[in-house]
């Protein structure tokens, strides 16, 4: 697991095409066939995963894109960035995301 103190790492969700999802009234149950694990994701976490499935991003880019999408106020952005960092940490821990393989920063870690 890569330290979250490297904000320049570009994260992506390489296995996302194989994830199986079911909606549970605002919470998503997500099954990862690679690990056999099942996870429950709230809407924000699910959106972060979907954004990384579409395009590799750093934590900062994710937070910025989310803030724009959610029309977050200035005073909300710090909290949103913190939430993004926490979510990336957890996704990395459970194997839903990984640094881009061609990312020079990740290779140095």
């Amino acid at each position: 697991m890569i330290s979250m103190t490297r904000p320049d790492i570009r994260w992506h969700a390489p296995g996302s095409a194989g994830f199986i999802r079911r909606d549970l009234a605002g919470v998503a149950a997500l099954h990862d066939p690679r690990s056999g694990e099942t996870h429950l994701l709230d809407l924000l976490s699910l959106r972060i995963l979907d954004m990384l499935a579409d395009k590799a991003q750093t934590a900062g880019e994710l937070a910025e894109n989310l803030a724009r999408e959610l029309d977050a106020r200035a005073e909300e952005r710090a909290g949103l960035a913190h939430r993004v960092a926490e979510t990336l940490h957890e996704f990395d821990r459970i194997g839903l995301i990984a640094p881009r393989a061609d990312d020079p920063v990740a290779r140095q870690s």
Binding site: I20, L24, V27
Partner: protein, 340 residues
């Protein structure tokens, strides 16, 4: 003796016959294959077969070939399983179990009973010979839990009424066996007090009506309702205290090939010191609790995930806190009416 013809097992036929859900049990019986009611085996023949090791019987979808060397274990088995259908000798069985002393010495000196299931590293330990029947029950639990992956299994009681089933997952001590037994002798059809068997392909629960294990105070509570003749002798000084078994009602065995549609998921907790109440579970909570009650969801992977998600989508779920058996049973009945 009830026999089954060739061309698949009865429950496999019932998958096609009962694809339509929401049927009354009486209608289901009318459409189920007509077979003669099972008759208790002739004592001497059954006893001889148990000694030889070629006694075959069926409970729901599982057929077992059994050998019991102890006369007391054979007597207990015939007293408790005497109404179950036997199984033809020309058909393959699912499990082959032998309960016997660990050595010739142990037949006479501090006699014991040990399970032999033909599987290495099985977690069985010898029990005193007078608990040979408990060794058999433990062995069947273990064999089903570790091998029956054609089913999505839950550690739960299941009863049904009018073709609709309620599943009641719960840890040991939560009261689910007593509640299941109480319902089973009060007009509900017993599917199981221990294993909920869900067919992933159809989403239906299938019966597996084993004798219901009762412990300590629950024995007298259920005996009063069911009649003392439906309760086995008491097995003393077991790891769980005093244990006895409720023989399933006749209907549970007669309809053991008739599945039911899931209607309600209940998580009962016996809390006599608290006020009785129900708490409805949100879908995500219900999914998490139901999945945690599954015995083999990790082995089944995607199949289990989809089946559990489908189950949660079609059922409402509640925590049920109750203070006595009558109260718990009433609450189950009212909840079933509510979700109808």
């Amino acid at each position: 003796m009830q026999r089954h013809g060739g061309g698949g097992r009865p429950w496999e036929k019932s998958l096609g016959e009962t694809a339509e859900i929401q049927r009354d049990d009486h209608a289901a019986v009318a459409q189920a294959p007509r077979v003669a009611p099972p008759r208790p085996p002739v004592s001497d023949a059954a006893d001889a077969a148990l000694r030889r090791g070629d006694f075959r019987f069926r409970i729901g979808p599982f057929a077992t070939r059994l050998a019991l060397s102890s006369p007391l274990a054979r007597r207990d088995f015939r007293a408790i399983y005497g109404e179950y259908p036997q199984y033809p000798a020309d058909r393959a069985v699912d499990f082959h179990l032998r309960i016997a002393p660990t050595s010739l010495l142990r037949r006479w000196v501090r006699p014991n009973a040990m399970v032999q299931a033909g599987i290495g590293n099985a977690p069985f330990v010898p029990l005193p010979a007078d608990l040979g029947f408990l060794a058999l029950e433990s062995a069947m639990n273990w064999m089903v839990a570790t091998t029956a992956d054609a089913w999505l299994m839950f550690h739960a009681g299941v009863v049904a009424r009018k073709g609709r089933a309620v599943m009641m997952p719960g840890l040991s001590g939560a009261g689910k066996s007593t509640l299941t037994a109480g319902l089973a002798v009060s007009g509900w059809r017993l599917f199981s007090d221990e294993f909920a068997l869900l067919r992933p392909e159809t989403g239906l629960f299938h019966p597996y009506p084993r004798p219901v294990s009762l412990k300590n105070r629950s024995i007298d509570i259920i005996a009063e309702r069911a009649g003392a003749d439906r309760i086995s002798r008491r097995f003393l000084k077991t790891p769980k205290g005093t244990v006895a078994y409720l023989k399933p009602p006749e209907e549970a065995l007669r309809l053991m090939d008739v599945p039911a549609s899931p209607a309600l998921l209940l998580f009962p907790e016996y809390r006599p010191e608290e006020r009785a109440r129900i708490e409805e579970l949100r879908p995500a909570e219900l999914f998490a609790l139901t999945r945690s009650a599954s015995i083999n969801c990790d082995r089944l992977g995607e199949t289990a995930f989809t089946a559990i998600a489908d189950l949660v989508a079609r059922c409402r779920g509640f925590r049920l806190f109750y203070g006595n058996l009558d109260q718990g049973m009433t609450m189950v009945g009212e909840l079933m009416e509510r979700v109808a």
